[in-house]
């Protein structure tokens, strides 16, 4: 009845919540899943849930989750017939996709050629311009090799990309700086191989341009193994609207509506929803057509996302195409009632796309729970999760990759969980999400839980009046000062610790009950 079995064992080449998500989809499809893990992920949730697991190296991603040879060896040793890359890490590496196919396995994702065409944001922009899709005005920086080659090689060999790292350019030292300044400030510096806002820098003063470019390069190299960057004009108050597309091997390309991801901090999405309150049926049709045209232009197969910036006037511009599953895919799943990862498996096995809903039947909103401190510029936090309780209830879904007792490591993305609420309309979904976040307990590592809840209660967010700069302009109410109960609870756990020590208060009265408490810098 199904071609699915051709996929065999599925190597899930990722970690955290997305590895858990893919492993679940494999289990539901009746396919065995193999997890991979680095030294620090031995006890991780995704490893526990898989049918088998393979060690792929030390904590730094470049030597484990970003190492194509080690991942291929893991797939071989565990007898896998296919590879799902998740998002992040090597999910947009055409070189990895090609290596998987060359090794005789099925790549659960788009064809390497389509990934190559869209993988360099610079060449994607040029292709869209040629296809008549409007793009944001921009400029390249410096002199580079052919972009597509650069990006493919760069990802394959981080070390050689590092060796090619160019010296810091000085303003006026060469042409592109003039070109950039002629766009008119502010501009935004982006990584060509980028995604997820990694490396992005907004520049408002010419004197900051050099540092922004250098910093973007370093972050791009660390995240993607490729330090090619480009510059775009910063639109004042756009919405971030993206279209979920899906192609199969039989020439079908369909769109599953849009997601709005305008609520961002540090240029990274924190709240996403489907559908967008700004998109009318007519605009949706035009966005979906543009997205499907973009996908067809590169022979796209499997799940992908075409991102646009939408101006208040209703004009939209192509931003980039992500040739993979998105972090925020659950809002589309909940609003449309589809399982996108299950579809990925079927399409990769050669099945045609089934009949899918043409419009959302509910409203879904997702909040990303990060290990970060909103009081300290959203800086990533590390430590051990001493308590972790996930919310539930009607219309509440949690995709998480952690459990109580687990260490949150500096080497990886600080996303702990995604809480998704679905309702008949936007307001019902929003209320359910606020309630769910209020139930969630995460102790031991600072998180943005309280901040997310207050953001969801801010008046423009309640109204759905969003733009990508909104979060910076809001000053959400401060969390309440601690009531008496909190001081009592704290005194109880702290004094109990003193008692257990039998009054030997000279040293270590307040030492941790957890042996080998996680300390950064000594890992």
């Amino acid at each position: 009845m199904t071609k699915l079995r051709q996929l065999g064992r599925v190597l899930v080449a990722n970690r955290g919540e997305i590895a858990v998500r893919v492993i679940r989809a494999c289990r539901m499809a009746g396919l065995p899943a193999v997890a991979v893990y680095s030294d620090v992920d031995r006890g991780a949730r995704h490893v526990a849930l898989a049918d088998a697991a393979a060690h792929v190296g030390p904590a730094p991603a470049r030597e484990s989750y970003l190492s194509i040879p080690r991942l291929l060896a893991a797939a071989r040793e565990t007898g896998c017939g296919s590879v799902h890359p998740g998002y992040g890490f090597l999910s947009e590496s055409a070189a990895f996709a090609r290596a998987v196919v060359d090794a005789g396995m099925i790549w659960i994702g788009p064809p390497p050629e389509a990934m190559g065409a869209m993988g360099s944001k610079i060449s994607a922009r040029e292709r869209m311009k040629a296809a008549g899709v409007p793009v944001v005005p921009g400029a390249l920086i410096g002199k580079f090799e052919e972009h597509e080659d650069f990006s493919a090689n760069g990802r394959e060999a981080g070390a050689s990309a590092a060796a090619r790292r160019v010296a810091l350019p000085r303003p006026g030292a060469f042409g592109p700086f003039k070109e950039i300044l002629s766009l008119g400030l502010p501009v935004v510096v982006k990584a060509s191989a980028g995604g997820g806002g990694k490396g992005m820098r907004i520049v408002t003063s010419p004197s900051d341009l050099s540092e922004a470019i250098a910093s973007c390069r370093r972050e791009a190299l660390a995240s993607f193994g490729d330090d090619t960057v480009y510059v775009e004009k910063l639109l004042p108050t756009p919405r971030h609207i993206e279209v979920q597309i899906f192609g199969d091997m039989h020439g079908n390309v369909i769109a599953l509506g849009e997601r709005e991801c305008s609520l961002q901090r540090r240029h990274q999405k924190v709240i996403e929803e489907c559908p967008s309150s700004a998109v009318t049926p007519d605009l949706r049709a035009r966005l979906q057509n543009a997205a499907c045209d973009a996908a067809r232009a590169v022979g796209y197969v499997n799940a992908g996302t075409v991102e646009f910036l939408l101006e208040p006037s209703g004009s939209f511009y192509f931003l980039e195409m992500n040739t993979r599953l998105q972090v925020e895919h659950p809002v589309t799943e909940e609003a449309f009632g589809v399982d996108l990862v299950a579809l990925q498996l079927r399409v990769a096995a050669g099945e045609p796309l089934p009949d899918l809903p043409s419009a959302p039947s509910a409203h879904a909103i997702e909040a990303r729970v990060y290990a970060e401190d909103p009081d300290a510029g959203f800086l990533p936090q590390a430590g051990r999760l001493l308590a972790w309780i996930e919310p539930s209830g009607p219309g509440v879904r949690v995709d998480s990759g952690v459990t109580a007792g687990q260490a949150v490591d500096i080497h990886y993305d600080p996303l702990l969980a995604k809480v998704v609420a679905v309702g008949r309309d936007r307001e019902e979904a929003r209320r359910r999400l606020v309630a769910a976040l209020g139930e969630m307990v995460a102790l031991g590592v600072a998180t943005n839980l309280s901040w997310l809840r207050r953001l969801l209660e801010a008046a423009p967010v309640v109204r759905g009046d969003l733009h990508t700069g909104l979060v910076e302009t809001l000053s959400p109410s401060a969390p309440p000062p601690p009531p008496d109960e909190v001081f009592e609870a704290a005194s109880s756990v702290l004094s109990r610790a003193a008692l257990e020590r039998g009054g030997s208060s000279e040293r270590g009265v307040f030492s941790s009950p957890f042996e080998g408490r996680f300390r950064m810098g000594r890992v």
Binding site: S215, A376, A387, P482, F487, E488, A489, L494
Partner: protein, 126 residues
Amino acid sequence: MRLRDLRTGEEREAAGDVPPGATAVRDGDVAWVWFRGETYRLSPARSRRAAHGGEGTPSLEAPMPGRIAAVRVASGASVSKGDVLVVLEAMKMEHAVRAPKDGAVERVLVSEGQMVGLGDVLVEMA
């Protein structure tokens, strides 16, 4: 026991059990408390651990654990307020540590590639 709330800096004398509805755990000298949807961190008031973001002291300490991605100044350099002194990298994100005021750099205590912990001193200014 005299306790200090690490976010607000508020101090209070307190004793008792964990009250109904609260969840509390201890990590070293820090108590983490969840109560009615909010999370709090408290420490004994005389703890050496500084209140988070308190006092307005010019912080040239690492604001997060991570790796030193770049050192932009040398000992003895004079800097202006806002100049980038050190770039810290963790979880694939960069954070620039900037000069809190005009002045001279007395000592640079870190080098590129080094791992640092939260609160480690990076640069001393005169």
